[in-house]
Symmetry: C2
Subunit: 287 residues, 2 copies
């Protein structure tokens, strides 16, 4: 099986991410179906032309149409779905996901899944502070990275289908990592940064401060506008790795604080020079 | 004395900030002169039409032309300049600055200054990761705040001139704070955020991570590209206040870490909800 327009794709969960997948794939000429909890969500997607059809109930009749199923659900709901409905999937189907943590999900799903269906995990590093299909747009993929996280259980064929899916969706880069490498990376680049933003935004009274702020505070707290249900779940699913990354940051922060306390200008300047040098690699927009 | 185009303005120090002041004021029809260390800097500004004339040496003959002098220098160089050259200033002149800390500078300068010259301090909350006149542009003022920090020694007239200067430069908002209020605000909104960015950028090896990052990490570390000479000086000049703000942040971060360790979802979610609510006030671009 290779990814081509003859394959029918189902998106389970039409939120910001599922809706954006549906739009991108329909625009690329795929027949896209969907399962969503609410009829209004399906109507919205139908009206936009992002799906060809959709259901609010999971049935074998509907699911057996699809060669590829993308789960765009909260992690625990994804696991529940597989437990309850995997019998409805078409034999030979390839399923994938959008979950922001991998180690705790990938092996679990692969373990419980029917042998005639293959799960190849992926993490689209795109999003928005907003949630819901009304904010969905395939534009969020344009400058973003898509990470496929295969395990030993995956076939080369499924990995290739999943990578092609990332390219078809319009991601700027498509790469692969092990689930463990992924979780370390995400613990640092994404979860730690959200912890910092939340802490900064809640550490003191800031009434009236908006009149005085420059861009730096606004940049550091953009992601302090956070979906509490999703992120508290993601934090716990990557707890050990996240705590490690938090500790690394705490140590560095304490080190800088000591340099300031000691009025150790040499140490401050050397940290700042290192910081400037490291940041250069992240400089180019869209890299 | 009120701010009008008959007044002649001198910018001492033509870096990113001084150059941007010169451009904005010349474009508004003022006769702007400058003192800079290097002839090339003056030539650059002359060629751009940002200054009418300039000198590399400070002389009484030159300085006595100016009704208003803006010091766009590193803090300690500003103090040294006043010690060495204040005799050259015109009687009745109003002087102002762009220094990012106030308590430790304002009273000191006012104390040492000739009685026939008035110092009214201001902080333009604008800038760039880049430094030097080649990056100067009055555009940096457009969405930015300008804070005047008068003391009991200041006349209402000088405060008004300084506020008018902020408006003439094109700042979005012009406000006043006491030097102490200013330093608390800046310790939190600007210095703490730079400490966080530097710590995040230096806390671990990040080789190759640029391939996987989304916007959040890039946003949080934009200011990790930092002028080490200037910021290490500013940190120490506001040491006590900055350390207080760092402690508030450390406590909040440790609190969130404990919630994750304890798998206390309620606490995590309530912090995230508070964070989201607080962030709303900082939402609108350019507010």
């Amino acid at each position: 099986m290779k990814l081509d327009r003859k394959l029918k794709i189902c998106i389970v969960g039409l939120g910001l991410m599922g809706g954006s997948y549906a739009q991108a794939l329909s625009d690329e000429g795929y027949e896209v179906g969907a399962v969503a909890r609410r009829r209004e969500t399906l109507d919205f997607a139908l009206e936009k032309g992002w799906i060809a059809h959709g259901e609010t109930e999971v049935t074998q009749e509907y699911m057996s149409r699809f060669d590829i199923v993308v789960f765009a659900l909260y992690p625990h709901i994804f696991v529940e779905w597989i437990e309850k409905y995997q019998r409805c999937l078409k034999a030979g189907a390839v399923i994938t996901d959008v979950t922001g943590v991998k180690g705790c999900i990938v092996y679990k799903i692969q373990e419980m899944l029917r042998p005639d269906v293959e799960f190849i995990a992926a993490h689209p590093l795109a999003g928005s502070e907003k949630s819901g299909i009304e904010y969905a747009t395939k534009e969020i993929f344009r400058q973003a990275n898509y990470i496929v996280t295969p395990t030993e259980k995956n076939t080369r064929e499924a990995v290739e289908i999943c990578k092609s899916l990332g390219e078809t969706l319009g991601f700027k880069t498509v790469t692969t990592l092990t689930p463990e490498e992924h979780d370390e990376m995400i613990g640092f680049l994404s979860q730690l940064t959200h912890c910092i933003a939340v802490s900064l935004m809640t550490c003191r009274n800031t009434d009236g401060f908006e009149k005085y702020t420059g861009d730096s505070f606004r940049d550091l707290t953009r992601i302090a506008n956070i979906n509490d249900v999703m992120w508290s779940e993601l934090f716990l699913l990557n707890k050990e790795e996240l705590l490690k990354q938090m500790e690394l940051f705490e140590n560095a922060f304490a080190n800088l604080r000591k340099a300031i306390e000691d009025e150790n200008t040499d140490e401050m300047r050397s940290l700042m020079k290192l910081s400037t040098e490291h940041r250069k690699r992240f400089d180019k927009e869209g890299k």
